[in-house]
């Protein structure tokens, strides 16, 4: 027989209509391999249809469901009950929205606002390099690609930015910085100057204290701090 956990979820709520903020506690029994998104859905069906929470793909591939669980930013779609119990050593969880963007309702934040930083870092080739004569595609060796491939896995869940000790007011943030760094490393980008200007600006990478909190929380296991360190050395 499988195990049942008696869980207590204390969720931070916000109702824009009444400008009210409060913590609400839900108790539910769950098997080991339900995910936190499954718990939220169950709360909607069984206890409280008004609780708003965010998700989309529920495959850990879109980064919509980031929340703070007992103070740690994580994706609710891949957090299994059993793992959460092991990780935190408790069946009591405090769940709050991430703070990198304004809250719209309950656990739903305004991702658009958080993304403004990524947009500032121009997540595309500003000036793509022309193809060499006679070629129809660029050649990029697997070794060259391997230098920055890891960084291209970023899903912009902003867990790193949430955990970053440099705070999110003065620093553009680890993931946005990384969006610029990838294109510094990509030989197909010709516009390096503009990118350097941003990376070394007031809100640039010198704000980073190399604490590696970002790498520690990244659900995609990207060593974000490594890329920022490369940029600090100019080792693109």
């Amino acid at each position: 027989m499988t195990k049942t956990y008696s869980l207590t979820l204390t969720i931070k709520r916000y109702d824009p209509d009444r400008s009210a903020r409060w913590f609400q506690t839900y108790r539910l029994d769950s098997g080991p391999i339900l995910r936190f998104v499954d718990l939220f859905r169950r709360i909607n069906v069984e206890q409280d249809a008004t609780l708003a929470w965010a998700s989309s793909c529920e495959h850990a591939q879109c980064g919509s469901c980031s929340v703070n669980v007992n103070g740690r930013p994580m994706l609710a779609c891949e957090l299994l009950v059993e793992n959460a119990v092991t990780l935190f050593g408790t069946t009591v969880f405090k769940i709050a929205p991430v703070s990198v963007a304004p809250v719209i309702r309950d656990l739903v934040v305004d991702w658009e606002k958080a993304y403004e930083r990524v947009h500032r870092a121009k997540p595309y080739l500003i000036k793509p390099k022309e193809l060499p004569p006679g070629m129809t595609e660029h050649r990029i060796s697997p070794q060259e690609l391997a230098r920055y491939e890891e960084a291209t896995r970023c899903i912009n869940c902003f867990c790193c930015a949430e955990a970053c000790i440099s705070g999110n007011r003065t620093f553009i943030g680890p993931n946005a910085a990384m969006a610029g760094i990838v294109r510094m490393m990509d030989s197909r980008e010709k516009e390096k100057e503009e990118r350097l200007d941003l990376l070394y600006s007031e809100e640039g990478i010198y704000r980073c204290h190399t604490s590696k909190a970002c790498s520690h929380v990244c659900p995609k296991q990207i060593d974000v701090a490594h890329f920022i360190a490369l940029a600090k050395e100019g080792a693109f």
Partner: protein, 598 residues
Amino acid sequence: MGKKLHIHSTSTCDVLIIGAGGAGLRCAAHLHERRPDLLIFTVTKVAHPQKSHTSTAQGGMAAVDPKDKTDQSLYHMFDTWKGGDCASDQNVVKKIVDGGWEEVQWLERKGIHFSRDEGGNISKRQFGGHTVEFGKGDALRAVFVADRTGKGIMDTAWGEALKGGSRFINTTVVTELLFNEGCCVGAVLFKVKEGEFITVLAKATVLATGGSGQVFRITTNCRNNTGDGLAVILRAGLPVMDPEAVQFHPTGIVGPGILASEALRSEGGILRNKELEPFMERYAPKMKDLAPRDIVARAIETEIREGRGIMDPDHQIEHVWIDLRHLPDYVHEVKLKEVASFFKTYANLDSRTQLCPVRPSNHYHMGGIPTNEHGEVLTTANTVVPGLFAVGECACASLHGFNRLGTNSLLELLVMGRYAGERVLSGLKEKLAPAPKGAGEATLALFTSYLEAQGKENVGLIRQEMREVMTRKVGVFRIEKGMQEAIASLIAFKQRVAKVAISTKDTRMNQELLERWELDNLLDSAMAIAQGALMRKESRGAHFREDYPERSDEFQFHTLVSMTDFGKVSFGKRPIDMGICDAKGEYYEQFRIMPRKY
């Protein structure tokens, strides 16, 4: 009751793109490239375009490389035609296949991080159903970005649309299309975050709202794939084509339905039932676990139906096992790294020492909004609806017929996104047409009715029951009696949803309200699927009728379903294009109607 609902404002643009997945964004990017002066609105239901479902596509994108002397477009066209069980439109197949490599080049120039071979060239891999020389050998035809090809495409198309200056309208849904003298002149949108209804007038409107997988209980599709595009089209009095053509992937991970790729079986994974019997031997004595998707899916369903499945206690879903324990560590750690990690992440299982739970999972909707090869939406009479386009999974051109080959969807998104963009430009009018009288009234009345409804029903519960019914009765196996029961259940659900009271009256980020509206869309889509499946008394591709297990030439046509009132459907037919065969060019005899045997 809160304030009276009203249309908050009216905006205008040149092109309104509804849906910002791979298809919508490719279309936007093309328009920006060709006409930087145009004002383009790109609407998405998710919080940001990058969150769209295309990001989850894993395996690859099919495209014939003209530099590859072993492969040819004609081979790819043949595979698509055969795979679709002779129900694809050949003019569409030809156009899309011919446009494939140009898209690979576009992506590559715009910075996608394709996996590379030792020479630094774009790598290619093999995928089920893709062959050379009309089935003689395997084709290396899929380009890929490691195991996240969709994400690579998403990021590139999003980046280009952003660079081009698209105005993104996020966390927003289309609720109504606007027509003036038969032309589509824009749409009514509900801005979920702000809780506002707006009208947008446009010279052209492109629907790219993606799939409808949430109709089924177990699905690889995202939470947002609730068939909105289909519902909006049906409410506009337009038809949906081949809705019954729904693909099920044999191995979704229990319970979330996450796709566990065929690689599991091609590397030697064995499916086992409750008694641990390797049951595929009974269904496909030769190919066993390597049999095509639909055969494996039916075998698993049969095991479960006959009581040889296992109940997952947490998710309350029956499944079978996939046994990977005998495979060498190298296979677990290198070749199956990603999938093995899915079992770890979503079921806390170590595939090296434990059996892993899988079952058929809804995966792809071949059917959708009927279009021609330019992405223009067609009526029941096969005439073009001026100003209205549809691309991507919500559309049906039809490239995939009744069964989609892996990697052909990403190909379609990009090529059709571009072609539709091209067509939008060639027909772009000088001036905007005015909104019709009463624009938005239907939307406001609908949402007011949701907010005012009284009763004790619950959206989540009805949705759960509907998904269960559709999975059991209109899923992998279909039979007349079951489908009639499903239709009766859908009608009962529709009556019950009228008794859902919404406690949050404020329209801002009102998840209850949005999910109530989505449930109507799910029910509309489910009804179209069930009715189409009931009408089609044959088995074709992914549509399998136990009472009519063979394909029949009598049904050599596309189904068109229109629905004026819920459950009241009328059927039309569209001929299947045989252009390649009829042109009598080289190898034309390969494009006749043929049995689908592998």
